[in-house]
Amino acid sequence: MEDRNILKVEDLNVFFKVNGGIVRAVENVNFQLKDGESIGIVGESGCGKTTTALAIMGMLPGNGYVDNGRIFFEGEDIINKDEKQWQRYRWNKISMIFQGAMNSLNPVMKIRRQIGEAIRLHNPTITKGEINARVVELFKLVGLDEKRINYYPHEFSGGMKQRVMIAMALACNPKLIIGDEPTTALDLMIQAQIIDLINDLRRKLNMGMIIITHDLSIISEICDRVAVMYAGNIVEIGSIEDIIENYKHPYTEKLIKAFPSIYGDKRMAESIPGAPPNPLSPPKGCRFHPRCHKSIDICKNVLPKYTSFGNRHFAACHVVKGDSLNE
């Protein structure tokens, strides 16, 4: 079983050096991704979702560093690679659909050249004709009109630019794609189109996928598993069914109840009182305890360990009962 994990993140800590001290953006994050599986990471802004993804891509900004932990890709530890090794592995093995597709394309470069650049940089021996053929192939794959390969980004609509970003991520046939808020800032109908496209590609190409979003409904459409993050920790992880219907952690509960549904009763979605903690000085004990409606004394001092609820469903909370997990 173990060796079929395409990605395994173990005790990952990512810190940032800033003026006021050290920001513990991601702390003690563990998760695994099986071949062809997709996992969603959900949480409020600033909870460390994107930082986790950047660490996996080896693209942390200058003041960020991996303090502890290991990341295995296909069984190989990738955290200590040097930049040259990273370059060979990035995009060829793991690629990313960046947040804000509208702004991540170069406005003065034709789309064909932008996608072609990604292909050429990672396959230095490829010929021009092969690149063009590949771009056309990618355009077809993401449902864009191949006549438009020589257009500039401003001639594309938001949804089409998002498709271009997806094509770019697929350029080198990666085994794993990370989508950072792939549908945010798109209209509802375009969002649905992109979700359909991603699901379709996943079936066709059998890729692993990590979707980072604050919108649980997108994850429920695309992913098999969900990790709920709060202030740098994964507080609960499990299959989408387990998380939505059988959630254990009070934060997950709040997150799900904050979701308006037109099929239920007409009640105002509940908001979570308070704000996420300051990452420079997170609270002692369970990081969620100041906002938690179920918190007890022990939550204030002791960081909860994960308890298992079967079927790879874990939650870190003192209040919920499950089988304790020996780490």
Binding site: E44, S45, S157, G159, D187, L188, M189, I190, Q191, A192, Q193, D196, H214, D215, L216, S217, I218, S220, I240, E241, I244, E245, I256, A258, F259, P260, S261, I262, Y263, G264, K266, R267, M268, A269, E270, S271, I272, A275
Partner: protein, 333 residues
Amino acid sequence: MNNDKVIEVNKLSVYFNARAGFFKDLIRKDKIMVRAVDGVDLSISKGEIVSLVGESGSGKTTMGRAILNLVHHNTGSLKFNDEAYDIKNKKWMKTFRKKAQMIFQDPYQSLNPKFMIADIVSEPLKFIEKKLSEEEIESKVVEALEFAGLKPARDYLYRYPYELSGGQRQRVAIASVFIISPQFIVADEPVSMLDASVRADIVKLMLQMKEEKGTSYLFITHDLALAWLVSDRIAIMYLGKIVEIGPAEIISGNCIHPYTQALISVLSNIDIKKKRKRIVLKGETPSPMNIPKGCRFHTRCPIAKEKCEKEEPPLIKRQKNHFAACHFSKRLI
């Protein structure tokens, strides 16, 4: 009956000139028009919340702005409290501005960064009631801030917008509207820039204002679920026209127009047991410079027939208060 209508809009159209370039504009005789709002009827009663829902570019913001006379409308008649708009009359406009206000989308841009909170909130009041003393103004500002949930209000008076979070800023914006107790408010995506966790609070605040003061709202949003939660009636807009309007329950459960049905079907939904059939429309909304003939939705409609390409369907009454503009009325979901 007529008397309880706060806003009545008849055949409202707003066109913008599309510029093709300086010389082309000089040479060309027929101006290309962007028909942002194209003949819309709408009325809002006292204490009613009507949501205007549509994708970006559907003309919903322009509609809201035209109702407040923030953009010039080309055709149509507007009535406020059964009184036709008298735009050229400055006195009339001033009383109108007292009673009709707007909450903007982006609290990071709508507050003057050089003003302190006390100034931002008191400015509309000072403009309207010039005889108030400093003490009276301050007590009103404090009252408004406390209503908006910024407690203790005195801590906020002398701070600047940059010191506040997005949710707090939007509260300040609401306080500055609340302070003059308008009768009618256009809220243009008031929560779309905010985190999900503070959204509900801001919406509750607006509902509370309705309860306490009987304020009517035109609530502009792209979020159908939110519209369903807050409003009495929902109007669905597509390319400058209202294609369906009716009570929130009918729109969510019994809508007729295929566009509404498609929007409902792709609505974010985390209830895995109740996954419905999704109708994902192909392509994108056509340009408002070049609106399709006939039914403007026919290019993307899953049930379009020949008739739809030729005749534009009128907004026809289906049930009490429920109108839809479609030649057919077929349930798709």
